[in-house]
Amino acid sequence: MKLQRAHVLVSVDPETVMAGAKEVEERLIKEIESRGLSDEIKVLETGTLGISGKGVVLVVYPEGIYYENVKPDDVPKIVEEHLLKGRPVKELMLPELPVRAVKRETVGLTRKQVRIVLENAGVIDPENIEEYIAVGGYEALEKALTSMKPEEVIEEVKKSGLRGRGGAGFPTGLKWEFTRKAEGDIKYVICNADEGEPGTFKDRLILEGDPHKLLEGMMLCAYAIGARKGYIYIRGEYALSIKRMQKAIDDAYKYGLLGEDILGTGFSFDIEIKKGAGAYVCGEETALIESLEGKRGQPRFKPPYPVTHGLWQKPTVVNNVETLANVPSIIKNGAEWYKKFGTEKSTGTKVYTILGHVKYPGLIEVEMGTPLREIIFSYGGGIKNGKKFKAALVGGAAGVFLPDRLLDVKMDFDNLKEYKAVLGSGAILVMNEDACMVDMLFSIIRFFYHESCGKCTPCRIGTRELLELIKKVRKGEGEESDLDKMIKISESMWKSSFCPLGQSLIMPVKSAIENFREEFVKHLDKEFHCENCRR
């Protein structure tokens, strides 16, 4: 990385592009050029900065000053005043520095997030491999390839306590070990980037903001398990992610970090992107494998598990984006370092998306075990517009509705289990007092109804029956027995559905009806008026 006086990072993601990020960037480059500053100041594109609803966002380093809602016409002023004269443009700066947007100490914000996975997102130019290398990227790979045996890499990951961030929380090191020990010469590593959980876009942030970290994580996994080939399965809707990842892969080949005989160590590895086409169920690992093989994305029966019979029946590791993005730091800094973060059984950090009626919707990375209340009220800034908190849907569509009295739950794999909840994708959808639980449950059931693959009876017909029943309640035609029927059907789906998709609908159904039963019962009254249910 050339030495430059200042960097201007332009957050480029679907949201900011929509707000005109590209135009702002073009204007910036033009203005900087016209003032002859091109050698001193560099304009970089970066992934989303984790700030939502603020239009085009820029950050100027080294000061770490954030500008929001920047329009192309604001650019001359920023260049003139700030970059040339060193006087930040106050009226465009983020008025209240949101805690969730914290990057580094240098930024000087009050509340710290612990950023492992997202350490580079929004800091470096994701399309420039040299920047990743400059901040210590690919050091872990070099360390592993030159000084660690594959078994030692697995041991380190095992010791770190890293668990899968896709939802189930299976110990990553163990998965790798099973695959390494599985019979067969050909093995695969698949990165599950089919992020489809409603309310979640954390993987997109990594894919777009720090693609090389993911690649490095995959390389480490491949080295550990003995794979020669890896695939990144990215959902079809993520056009920019696919573009950025492809650029990163191409660059990695150019730098000899992919392909034959990587870094002269004899280790060879190829990575290919596969594009999904709109199917939530493909987030389930065996359905993803089916889809990757070119089939309908319907789940396979387990056992056998992918670790022994995965892609083309070969031993395969399927890991979530966030999981893999944790690995480089673990290998670089060691398991002991990693274990300092989080709780005993849920180590490290977790990325959350906080959405809904909060002041600062967006994305944060905090230690495992952080209380939900803190996430919503400190990081998310609490409920906006002076409204009262009503419920949080934690873990995505397949999550649970938690009322205020349950907000002190510490967010990690095991604690949540006690609340019959799951960490899931890390989505936290916050609802204020105006939200209607019946309406929200309707929306969730409709989601499952659309996304059921249709293979197994309990899920295919169960989702439809649930939809029928909730519609009835929503319309004011329900009976108390319909609520029990809904719980019974979702329980039967939990026990007899073929895959986690159908099995998990019980969580939102049961938690909504049980934690907010009064509201459901109110809807049974024909005279009851509900704005949200349109009656």
Partner: protein
């Protein structure tokens, strides 16, 4: 020796090889676990969830059909919670099912119905969510009723894996998921070969034959019509089991009796035509051997196979015998030879055949099958349809006194009867080809090497020093495998190691046909086949050329095998077909 695993099911200890499923282990113990989508002949899909069992230590129940056993596993197959769960699944299925049991063609054979009865399910436990969809009636042979489909996936496995026809597959997703053809064009506009195996494996009434029962009843009751009926070999080995007799029991006399009772004017037998087919086909084989080919000669009596060949292997059409199937030979003779002998106006004859087959419906309506000057065969009923007619008429089949067939086209030999089992046509043809070449009968007419349920069978037959390599394939997947090999040999060297090949579209041959009772598994098919071989052994004549009725038809009408009139009435030609739509593109062989 396979590694053994010990486990406990409902407290009983059982030891089974590693890789066995819980369901199989339970069956070994004689413990019944209800199933619905599972079928012993097919790989499990795990779709329905009916077979759930509790496994100690597992948070949720497991599917017995596809969960492999593990050492020390403790399984409970019956509990209140499991019964509730199974009931719940049936309730879901019924809420999305067109329930019209009494008039449903699958009535009493429906596995959903029987489970609902067994579990005591409340038919109206859940709101009805069925969205009535139109039936697929594009096919001449098979009707698909999506309103009765439970998406067990059996038909898809059968069509794609067992038969490798791939006319149908899963389409769409979620509640919209259904079984469909390419671009929803319908079975009649697809690569479907009408083999009907899907209708045998379908656990409900979602896939059935296109019924012609009403037309046949009308013809019988029409005083102006003269209704002639023929029954395929497999019928006599199947009807008994549908009326409480042991599978494989041969009930030829009762079969004739019931047809007379139903009101058919004349009861003949397809077995007669099978003997005739052998005369023509053995002659064709001998001529091809003498005249330098083309060999191998491949049998042509399975209409599912014929459409399969026309669709996927039109390049080998010239190897396929020009002989019509017994059904069509019979049809051509019924409105010519029989009409003449009996002095009946052929335009008044309604020719009905009863077949273990759905493809025969299609075959009867092929435009080229009108050599008598009329449509040679008017209506084709499947075994299942005949059983329904017998039940509709309230006849006590089991206790019916035996009767004889009418003579002119009713007499047959053991060679004719074994047509119904895989390997039977080959065996029958060898018996007569031997006689045609050597002028004498084989010392031992049994050709046991080509019998049995193995998918592809091979043998070398010694005809007085002439070594003939033969092969037998049944089930179109096996046929595809064998023919791919033959095609390769022909392409590479111009000749094949085989001189004579028998192919039957259905696993087990006609006894396993697509018109046979629902639920026919491989084991049952094998027993029916054994029944036919038993009848063969018991008959006075066991070679087609010995059949007096056959001798008579050549004397009086057909002159000799391969004569001009035999060619006109008994032989046919083939088309190349579009794989997408099944439409005929062009003739690939010609009638001479």
């Amino acid at each position: 020796m396979a590694e053994m695993v010990k486990l406990y099911i409902d407290g009983k200890e059982v030891e089974v090889p590693k890789g066995t499923t819980i369901l199989e282990a339970a069956q070994k113990l004689g413990i019944y676990i209800p199933t619905l989508c599972y079928h012993p002949d097919l790989r499990p899909t795990g779709a329905c969830g009916i077979c759930v069992v509790e496994v100690e230590g597992a948070p949720t129940p497991k599917r017995a059909c596809c969960t492999p056993v593990t050492e020390g596993m403790k399984v409970t197959t019956n509990s209140k919670s499991l019964r509730e769960l199974r009931k719940g699944i049936i309730e879901l299925l019924l809420s999305d099912h067109h329930v019209d049991c009494p008039s449903c063609p699958a009535n009493e054979k429906c596995e959903l119905q029987s489970l609902a009865n067994y579990l005591g399910v409340d038919m109206n436990a859940l709101p009805k969510i069925l969205e009535r969809k139109p039936l697929d009636e594009t096919s001449i042979a098979i009707v698909r009723d999506p309103n009765k489909c439970i998406l067990c996936g059996r038909c898809i496995i059968v069509c794609n894996e067992l038969q490798t026809v791939s006319a149908i597959t899963y389409t769409n997703r979620g509640f919209e998921a259904h079984v469909d053809t390419f671009f929803s064009m319908g079975l009649g506009n697809s690569s479907c070969v009408n083999c009907g195996q899907c209708t045998v494996y379908c656990p409900t009434g979602a896939l059935t034959e296109k019924s012609e029962i009403d037309m046949v009843w009308d013809a019988i009751l029409d005083p102006d019509k003269h209704v002639v009926v023929q029954e395929a070999p497999a019928l006599r080995a199947t009807l008994g089991e549908e009326f409480g007799m042991e599978p494989g029991t041969v009930t030829t006399g009762k079969m004739y009796a019931v047809l007379k009772k139903l009101g058919f004017d004349v009861v003949f037998d397809t077995n007669f035509a099978a003997d005739l087919t052998i005369m023509e086909e053995a002659n064709e084989f001998v001529q091809r051997v003498k005249n330098g080919g083309p060999l191998p000669l491949i049998t042509s009596c399975s209409p599912g196979w014929i459409k399969f060949m026309e669709t996927f292997f039109p390049d080998i059409a010239k190897h396929v015998s020009t002989c019509k199937s017994p059904q069509q030979m019979f049809g051509a003779l019924a409105k010519t030879y029989y009409a003449k002998e009996a002095g009946v106006d052929p335009s008044k004859i309604v020719s009905v055949s009863i077949m273990p087959c759905t493809a025969k419906k299609y075959e009867a309506r092929r435009p080229e099958m009108r050599d008598s000057g009329y449509q040679d065969v008017d209506y084709v009923l499947t075994t299942r349809e005949l059983v329904r007619m017998i039940k509709e008429a309230g006849i006590d089949y089991k206790n019916l006194p035996e009767e004889e067939a009418d003579e002119l086209m009713g007499m047959y030999t053991g060679a004719g009867t074994i047509f119904g089992a895989t390997g039977g046509v080959m065996e029958a043809a060898v018996r007569t080809a031997y006689w045609m070449i050597t002028g004498r009968n084989m010392e031992k007419v049994d050709l046991k090497v080509v019998r049995g349920i193995e998918g592809i069978k091979e043998a070398e037959v010694d005809i007085d020093g002439l070594k003939v390599k033969v092969a037998v394939a049944h089930g179109l997947g096996n046929a595809r495998e064998l023919l791919t090999k033959v095609r390769k040999q022909l392409e590479e060297t111009g000749e094949s190691e085989y001189a004579f090949i028998e192919i039957m579209a259905c696993p087990g041959g006609c006894v396993g046909g697509g018109g046979q009772p629902k639920g026919s598994d491989f084991a049952r098919r094998a027993r029916r086949g054994e029944g036919l071989y038993k009848e063969d052994k018991s008959l006075r004549y066991r070679c087609s050329h010995e059949n007096p009725a056959i001798k008579r038809v050549y004397e009086k009408f057909l002159e000799k095998p391969g004569s001009e009139i035999a060619h006109k009435l008994l032989h046919t030609y083939y088309f190349k077909r579009n794989i997408v739509s099944g439409e005929a593109i062009e003739e690939v062989t010609h009638k001479h």
